[in-house]
Symmetry: C2
Subunit: 326 residues, 2 copies
């Protein structure tokens, strides 16, 4: 399976690492909007190519993994590329997924390609677990807890405040809330009940730290609905203690069965990730395998993780999966 | 969707409960090998029919959920019924699944039906999570912990000992072993490291309890490889404290990504079930929906949970799943 990576940031590097760990795949090229000569990638003997030349690679790539941002890149990139390539993206703007799917579907059907969108862990593995748990326990309640982990969006929001040089925001689930759900109860929560926000901020010299703190904790939607702590640190501390990108969380469903719902059940799917971009890259890569197989069967159009039969994700032949993993 | 239940023990009752919770399904008949007149079922206005008359119902049932035992019932029942019905079973003899699949496939292809085998939570939901986690993290280790829960097979093994009237065996995971895995390590375990066995036994009056205890703890394969405790109780205590069928467990995969595997990831899928047969019945029922849809598309033959696209499990239309659950 010949894979291309389109975009080489943290996620692109995560995909590259994952491809090396999958023996049935090889990375054939990395595409970049930057000057290819300036980009050093981890793989040896793999060309770095300008995105302007992508169409020359149409017959040499089985699946293109698009590693752009959801805000502005993917809504343009994925439909455009799906006309000529089988693709996978990690579009994560939940409220716009239906629109994105429609745009991608049109181009993929036109180009006879298979295009899987919104892959990763949320949306992605968490979505799958919400679906399975809902199908199995129709009478129940869903809970998603995120963290402890770095939220890029919240970190960016702090960086836009005057006087801030750098910032890192950790989303932290409230353990007491998780324990309540795990005990089989179906409590109603406010946003504040479920998550805390911990912010680490490097301020400009002489900046009014109390003013920055106030600007953070009162920021609507981002911080105001949560208990938020702000800790000022030096740039050295930021680099030393906050350079990793851990994340994770839990999808939990509690449900009832039996006479008058006398029996409770708890289904929990929990991720504890040292590196968010590397894990996300690993998920995209596994689904690239399925996309390749679906395209070979002529199953074209826009797909999501809900459309993929799990056997298509594995390097192992189906007969061996049935014999050894079932 | 018109569902039939074939066999009305604990599992059959669990399926019946699940059907009532799925609005797009109705139970049309329960089939029994007993005298139908002697069987009282929970559903009102649903006929109880002798298994001898099953073929008369060929055109009135969309999917038949087979609730027999894996030891002797299902190897015969599932292939025979698959020739005339779309079916789901919970065959759980892991070492013989490939043989069972082959036998069922032959009959299902002949009869143009869809037959899903080995559904439930293990095999079933646990298998799915093993597959997803292996596909996403190819460099890693798998761990399955069962319990705390009642093992029917181990309880039966105790009941066969002379002087035993009744017995209940709980499989208990060793918390320290689970914590070690959850911390991201990939330890090697013996059977004893991972699980303990707790036995509650009602002995005949005057029986040699120490002899019974010895017979249990030295029993090869079943108890000898584990730390096993034996507690003698009265029949009243058995009925009062051990009449429920709780179970559960965790499938955990730890894996590495990044330069020289510098980042660890832990994926855990955990079930905490008040009622094993009711939860298993709920899984069978969700997959019956997928079987119906696959049969309508002409996707015939023997299937397992690995072959089912998750969207097919849900009552909710795909467009709504994409808009709201992805």
């Amino acid at each position: 399976m010949k894979i291309g990576i389109y975009g080489y940031g943290n996620l692109g590097r995560g995909v590259e690492d994952a491809i090396m760990r999958n023996k049935d795949m090889s990375l054939v090229a990395v595409f970049t909007r930057r000057d290819p000569a300036t980009l050093k990638i981890a793989s040896e003997n793999v060309p770095v190519v300008s995105t302007n030349d992508i169409l020359k690679w149409k017959n040499d790539i089985d699946v293109l993994i698009i590693c752009g941002g959801s805000a502005t890149d993917l809504p343009e990139m994925t439909p455009a590329l799906a006309e000529n390539f089988n693709v996978v993206d990690s579009y994560d703007n939940h409220s716009q997924i239906s629109v994105h799917c429609k745009n991608v579907d049109e181009k993929a059907l036109k180009g006879k390609t298979t295009a899987l969108i919104s892959c990763g862990w949320d949306p992605g593995m968490f979505s799958l677990n919400r679906l399975y748990a809902n199908a199995v326990l129709p009478d129940g309640s869903d809970y998603t807890f995120w963290g402890k982990g770095v939220s890029q969006g919240h970190s960016d929001a702090i960086r836009r405040i005057e006087g801030v040089i750098d910032a890192r925001q950790y989303t932290v689930p409230v353990e007491e809330a998780m324990d309540k759900v795990r005990s089989g109860l179906s409590p109603a929560f406010t946003a504040r009940d479920k998550h805390k926000r911990e912010c680490f901020v490097v301020a400009e010299e002489g900046a009014d730290k109390e003013k920055i703190r106030q600007a953070i904790v009162t920021m609507p939607a981002y911080f105001e609905p949560y208990d938020t702590t702000v800790t000022f640190i030096t740039m050295d501390e930021m680099k030393k203690y906050h350079s990793e990108r851990p994340h994770g969380g839990s999808v939990i469903r509690t449900g009832k069965t039996g006479k008058e719902g006398c029996h409770s059940h708890v289904i929990e799917y929990k991720l504890t990730l040292d590196s968010n971009p590397e894990f996300t890259g690993s998920v995209l890569t596994a689904f690239a395998r399925a996309v390749y197989r679906m395209a070979q069967r002529g199953d074209y159009g826009c797909k999501c993780v809900f459309d993929v039969a799990p056997a298509d994700l594995s390097e192992t032949p189906r007969s061996e999966l049935i014999a050894h993993l079932l």
